[in-house]
């Protein structure tokens, strides 16, 4: 992946930060997360115009042409704001999957609509057991005349219920291949799954002989893995950014909340928790950025970097969000306080692309153990 320069990436990050500050505050989040779509189409268009939605799509296909490093930086802001929407599912995972296939015609046909935000694409990869390995794919593809039909179930499909376009990993006689399907076609049902994180949208898709088009290019599972790595790095950035933000909020509160005649942050109990969390937060940022650099440079050992970020960022964010509630005390036990929104997102992110224990095992394998 090419990547824009560091200065440009930083400038983009700053623009994004301003837009999110203006348009994606907590009140907006709370409003939007209770709507069926779970995101604000107007803001989505603005983010697309800014270049966020097509950030990793090549300029030739209507995108920004930035690489993982710029993506990760941007996702730190996205995470800090808990921005809801199909960015990770469509703009990163699905776009990344199309790009990873490396078929120019497919890319030219599908990527521009994804990049400009006019089409929401969803990648249907794993089955109901939620294992992000080749064995986890639970859809089969059968040749049918000139085309193919799909049968089976895909779950954990990000914004599947909002998708205009499905990219489906399915089992064929020659291994996993990637298919394009129309979510409105006969032979498939998209069912929204209610999420504990109300700002998240996940669907289960049941295929019963749905027509599909096989996409050419690189072998399917290799492309899926490349797209998953990219999505994992993006989510790591999101987690790192969200972790840092919720820690900042908590430290700010500890400076102003007075109990026993002094700010609670002057007590070692609170101060030492904050210090420990800072180590977690900064380590998450380091891990996410390092994984992005490794991916951008296609470095040897990128796998280790991605899986390290996979568990370190997930657990850092979860730990920070959970401890932040304790540090706040009663106020954060209320629905109206934002702390639980971070905890809900953190709990979702921990599971979304493979649990920490799985990433730890893969990390060790990548280290040769």
């Amino acid at each position: 992946m090419a990547g824009i320069g560091r200065e440009e990436a930083l400038a983009f990050r700053d623009q994004l930060r301003r837009l999110l500050a203006a348009r994606a505050g907590e009140a907006e989040l709370r409003r939007v997360m209770e709507t069926p779509a779970g995101y604000d189409p107007t803001l989505w268009r603005q983010l697309a115009e800014l270049g966020l939605v097509g950030l990793v799509v090549e300029a030739a296909h209507g995108g920004t042409g930035a690489g993982p490093v710029a993506l990760e930086l941007a996702m730190e802001e996205v995470g800090a704001a808990l921005l809801p929407g199909p960015l990770l599912g469509s703009g990163v995972l699905a776009a990344g999957l199309v790009a990873a296939l490396g078929d120019e015609a497919t890319a030219a046909r599908l990527l521009p609509g994804i990049a400009d935000g006019s089409r929401i694409a969803a990648a249907a990869i794993t089955g109901p057991a939620g294992s992000w390995t080749e064995a986890g794919v639970a859809v089969e593809a059968v040749p049918d005349g000139g085309g193919w039909t799909l049968s089976g179930t895909a779950s954990f499909v990000l914004h599947g219920q909002n998708a205009d376009l499905l990219l489906v990993a399915a089992r064929t006689a020659e291994g996993i291949a990637v298919f394009e399907a129309d979510p409105r076609a006969a032979g498939l049902v998209v069912a929204a799954l209610p999420c504990f994180d109300h700002s998240l949208r996940i669907a289960e898709i049941r295929f019963t002989g749905a027509p599909a088009r096989r996409l050419g290019g690189r072998p399917g599972w290799a492309a899926v893995e490349a797209a998953l790595d990219l999505a994992q790095v993006a989510m790591a950035g999101e987690q790192a950014g969200a972790g840092r933000r919720v820690l900042e909020m908590t430290v700010e509160y500890a400076k102003t909340r007075i109990q026993f005649g002094r700010p609670i942050g002057s007590f070692q109990a609170i101060k030492h928790m904050a210090a420990d969390l800072l180590l977690e937060a900064e380590s998450a940022i380091s891990a996410a950025r390092h994984a992005a650099e490794a991916l951008e440079g296609r470095a040897v050992g990128a796998g280790a970097a991605v899986h390290l970020a996979g568990f370190a960022c997930a657990e850092a964010f979860a730990t920070i969000a959970a401890t932040a509630i304790q540090m706040h005390g009663g106020i954060a036990f209320t629905w109206d306080h934002p702390a639980h929104l971070y905890l809900r997102r953190a709990r979702a992110d921990v599971q979304l692309l493979g649990a920490p224990a799985w990433h730890r095992e893969r990390y060790l394998q990548a280290l040769g153990a």
């Binding site: 005649g261 609670i264 509630i325 005390g329 106020i331 979702a348």
Partner: protein, 389 residues
Amino acid sequence: MTDALRDEVRAWLAAHWTGPAADEAAARAWLAKVVEARWAVPRWPVEWGGRALPDAEARIIEAEFAALGAPGTGQDRTNLYANTLLAFGTQALKERLLLRMLRGEVPMCLLYSEPNAGSDLAGLRCRAERRDGQWVVNGQKVWTSYAAVAEYGMLVARTDWDAPKHRGISFFFCPMRQPGVEVRPLRQITGESRFNEVFLTDALIPEENLLGQPGQGWAVLQTALAYERSVMGEAARGPRSGVAEGTGEPPLIALAREAGRLGDPVLRQDLARVLAYRALNALNTARAKADLAQGTSSPLMSLGKLAMSRILHEEARLRTAILGPESLFEGPEHPRAEDANFLTLNAYFTSIGGGTDQIQRNIIGERVLGLPREPEVDRDLPFRQVRSQ
């Protein structure tokens, strides 16, 4: 003597107990009978419906009631409102309320915490002023259960702003059904509304509803809190769904088995570790009770709440680990995920409510281990001068 007592209570129960009450009216009727027969508060003085019995004999009565599952006795240990009233109330208030309370006719609530007085309850700023033979209250309380149905709230309010923080507080039975009391439900992170905010605007309290002397409310409160603590700790809430709970196995083992994860060696280690937390706490509690029964004070009592906090947080974490991606979901079709998520959030009820884990560690360090207190910057200042938000 004790045999005679046991015979008496057995005979009475045989004559009167007809099994669990079918509705609230029947439950009240039963309580009224228990009160009338002087079984409700056997340790209390005869004057207030008791029998002035020593603890050991009162426990015989409790044991006989418990054997049948009959409620109503032992309120001299467990009814925090009635015990507080008995200890500190005016004659008039006791006459008006005490027996009604034992009969379960007086729904109550607690008006203690304030938005700016949580861990530091003695920093409360709700104000009560004596005016024309009654008390006028202004301020805000929070974390009040049952505020909407209560007849009285046990209220702590500041009556002297020139005294140091602990010495300017008074304790009241505040009538809840009056225009000056506004109750607003408070939505918790779990999505439930089991608590309320209570706004007091020129709320009125008769003079006789003051417990203890003005300015001595902190001592009254300590008594009330001690009764509350002795009841709490066992009150932590379990899963909402009941899924995987009915097998007789420890629920976490049943859940892991049901989820097909019981063979996972990593999870098994975690499972043993977390099960041990609950098992050890049960053993500690049993030891504490045995110590108390022998008249030895036990450091274990103070550890229970801190231990329970860890148990609840760790059990919720493990449930999540067992479920994996299933924990993403909520709603009636995902009861196991509902449980894991609810218990994750509700664990803070124990680690924050009723004194945070951090406050609890202070208490254990100071009162049990005898470690010195921290310098307190506001302890002896006139309250007016204490730094606030």
